[in-house]
Each structure stands twice: as C-alpha cells, then as structure tokens.
Symmetry: C2
Subunit: 276 residues, 2 copies
Amino acid sequence: MAPSAHLKSYGQRALKQTNPAAILLLETMERKKTNLAVSVDVTTSADFLTIVDAVGPFVCLIKTHIDILEDFEYSLIERLENLSLKHDFLIFEDRKFADIGNTVAHQYSSGVYKIARWSHLTNAHPVPGPSIIKGLASVGLPVGRGLLLLAEMSTKGSLATGTYTEDAVRMARLNRDFVVGFIAQHRMDGIGAAPDEDVTDEDFLVLTPGVGLDSKGDAMGQQYRTPEEVILDSGCDVIIVGRGVYGTDLKATAAIVARAERYMAEGWAAYLRRLV
Amino acid sequence: MAPSAHLKSYGQRALKQTNPAAILLLETMERKKTNLAVSVDVTTSADFLTIVDAVGPFVCLIKTHIDILEDFEYSLIERLENLSLKHDFLIFEDRKFADIGNTVAHQYSSGVYKIARWSHLTNAHPVPGPSIIKGLASVGLPVGRGLLLLAEMSTKGSLATGTYTEDAVRMARLNRDFVVGFIAQHRMDGIGAAPDEDVTDEDFLVLTPGVGLDSKGDAMGQQYRTPEEVILDSGCDVIIVGRGVYGTDLKATAAIVARAERYMAEGWAAYLRRLV
C-alpha cells in the first residue's frame, strides 16, 4: 500500500511525529489554519522586521536568509523571536548547509549567527553524504531542532533528480529522529525504499518553494507552481512564498497583508480538499 | 588525445588562462614554488590571524570558513588582506554556495561578510543547476573573481558521483570565463564532453581537500589521501590541508610552521615529478 499519511489532518499527523520541531510545526498549522511559510529575502533589518510583523498572523513559519541582511546585529534575533511568540510561528533558517560534518557543526552552532539557538528548522543538501546529518544532529538534536533535506530543487537544470533524490530519502529514513522531511516538489514517502521495507505509515513533511499565483518564473532560473498544484496535486505540506507576498514595495504593508491572506486562504483551501 | 595541460608548469598554464583569479593563483604557485593551501578552520579571530601569519610564507592560498569565527568583525578582513599582501597568497572563502541564483547573488555580495569584496576564489555546488553560476557571476565576474564547482566530495557516501560529476563539468565548460576549476579528487578535463567536442587543451584547476600525511580520516566521515596520490597520481593542482598543518595546539607556532613546510615540500616534490 502506498504511504498516505498526508491525507490525514495536520493535527492528527502531529501525534505520530517524534521530533519536537515537527510536532510544533504541525500543531501550529492546525491551530492557525495555515500552511503558508513566507520567505523574507530582504537586505535590511528594518524591512525584515516590518514584513515579519505584517505577515506573522497568517503564517506557520518564517523562512530566513539571515546572511543577506546588510546590517545584521545579534539583537535582531531577539526581536525575531519576540515576533515568533507574538504571532505564533516557527522559524526556518534556509541555510542550505552543504559541507562535511565537522564544518557544518561549527556553522550551525557558532559563528556570528548561532543558527541552532533560534531556528526551529534548518536544511541541508545531502550531497556530502550522511556525515552532514551526523554533524548537524550533534548540535541540533539536543536542543529539539529538526532538519529538512533538499531532495529536489525547483530551478531549471537541477541535479537533484533520480537516484540523487532516492539517496536523499534513504539518508533521511536512516536519521528519522532529526530529519523531519524535505524541501521538495512532491511527496517523498516510500521513495528509494527496498521492496520488503514497510513504509505504509511513513510521513515526511514536505515544504515547497517556488510557489506563486501570478508569475511563472524569474530571470535567474526560478520556476513557479500554484498552491493547488503543490498541496492538492503533489501532496506537499507547506507552501513557501517570497516576493509573491512581500512584493516590490516593502513599505506597502496593507498590500503585503492582503497577499499573505490570499496565499493563506488558497493554501488552506487546497489542503481541505485533499483530506480524506 | 586526452587533455594533458596539467603536465606543463603552473607558470606556462597561467599564460593560457583568461580568468584573473586563475592567472593570479597559477603565477603565485610558480613564484613561491608551492601548491599548498591551508584551510584555517578555527573559531576565534586571534587564532585565525596567528595561523595565517605563520603559514603565509608557505602557501599559495588560504582557505577560510569565515562564518565559523565567533568574534568576527569586518576589520578582520582588512587584517587578512594585509597578510595576503605581506606573504603573497590568495584567499578562498569555502562558502559552498548552494542556493538559487537570486539568493546566492545576495549572499556573495552583501550581508555581514561581503565575500566577493575580498575572496579571490569561492565555490559552489552545481546541484541547483546553471542559475547558481549566473547569479554568482553577476557579482564576481566584474571584480575579477573566480569560481570553483564542487564536482566531487571526499566524504563517505557523497552523492557527487557519476552523471552528477559529468553534469558539473559540462556546466563549468559553458561558463569558462568565471568557472576556473573544481573541488575534486582527480582531473576533470574532458569529462562529460560530447564525442566530437575538442577538449585537448582544456585546463581546469583542481583543488583537492582531504589531504593528510599521517591520518586516514575523522569521526565525521572525512577521508584522507597523501600529496603524492593527489598531485602525481590524480593530477590535481592544489592540496588543501587543515588540521594536518595547524594541529591541535593552536599556540605552537613553530610546530605549525614546520608542518606547513613539510606539506609544501611534499606537494612541490610530487608536482616536479609529474612535469613533462
């Protein structure tokens, strides 16, 4: 039987997870009735905090690229955490770790950003092999963090396909305490499993970037799909939207709020339609 | 005929390169008679600068993980650049960029670290597809920087093998103005080329991590090969050594200098034996 855990509600699925960050995320989605994550890819702390505060009520998760902020100071993290409590969302630093175990352990725990201290979820490329998970888990597992593997990418000409994707899922399956799911374009449950392996109840979270309602791509190779395609057709769990929500006028808060509400509604409607 | 440009001297090869960073590196190697790069993976600025100053005379390149320094301030960069001039070496921030084009352009140019301002070389995983090169080149090419692609990794269970490696080399070949070579374990010239493609004169630089004289690996999946295996047997150009040079006692400068001299001598001897 093909895995179908994702046809249950987010709340029911939270009961079967073991990783604290995965449980928190699913519970938050159920409670707030949203599967929207906003990726806040701006370069000043002021714009960053304004947008997070504006979209906070509508999201389960804020995705950051903390290393593109020109004027980063560690006090920003405290303000981000306050907004996370105020609006009830989790934080996901989209670091895309991609080095050997010893190096990623340092990059995750220390340096200027100290990502493991404040980011409930982070992600990594499986390309270095299992040592990257071991290195990150040595830091994140003791403090209840979760990891997403990049099993696929939404860019043109991505090399994360075929056996690469299968190997990524196998790596995740062997590290289920820490790897809670994938950055991917469709469900990964059962992929790469041996014929005699029972994966019926497998339930990896799938967070999906490259979601847009009005645009088909950008000049740098990004490609877009709609919330319905992602949630209903492909069975993903979280839609990640960036510029589609915060737009080009970063001061136009009312418009940003309106777009966040729209994506939240579209994502949730697609989810309700897939429930059995 | 198989590509064999690497059997010529570093100085002769500099004449055939077009990228300014590649030319600088090869000229530096020829002038200083060293193919040693030291990877300075320590977590305080004081240790970092002490080690760079100690090994500077023996290296063509210093490899950094700038984001693991606990007490990073931008003034460190100026001190690193002063050491680079004092000792005549290039700088390679081992950032392992691995995101979509628009994001890596921000990560490379701005944020706290402003890598493109000071790092002659950086590197990227090819997994997102060609957009990552386009994004980085938009920042690095106008200021004379060069990019290395991670075509292989030295860790156990790496997914950078087979068609992945071939795709990486094809991607590099199409972006020869900016991609100067690879992080890899052997030469990549000609790999993935079409049967009718003339790659006789192809000359990608190959920089090779995982080099050690006394140790076979660490607990986090890193594996080691000797300078002779890397330079003579596999035809690589630069040996990258970390803890094998700076050791565990970061204050023992004389011992660090002695180890740097030893790796420099071993690497150069292997190079001299492969010249035709």
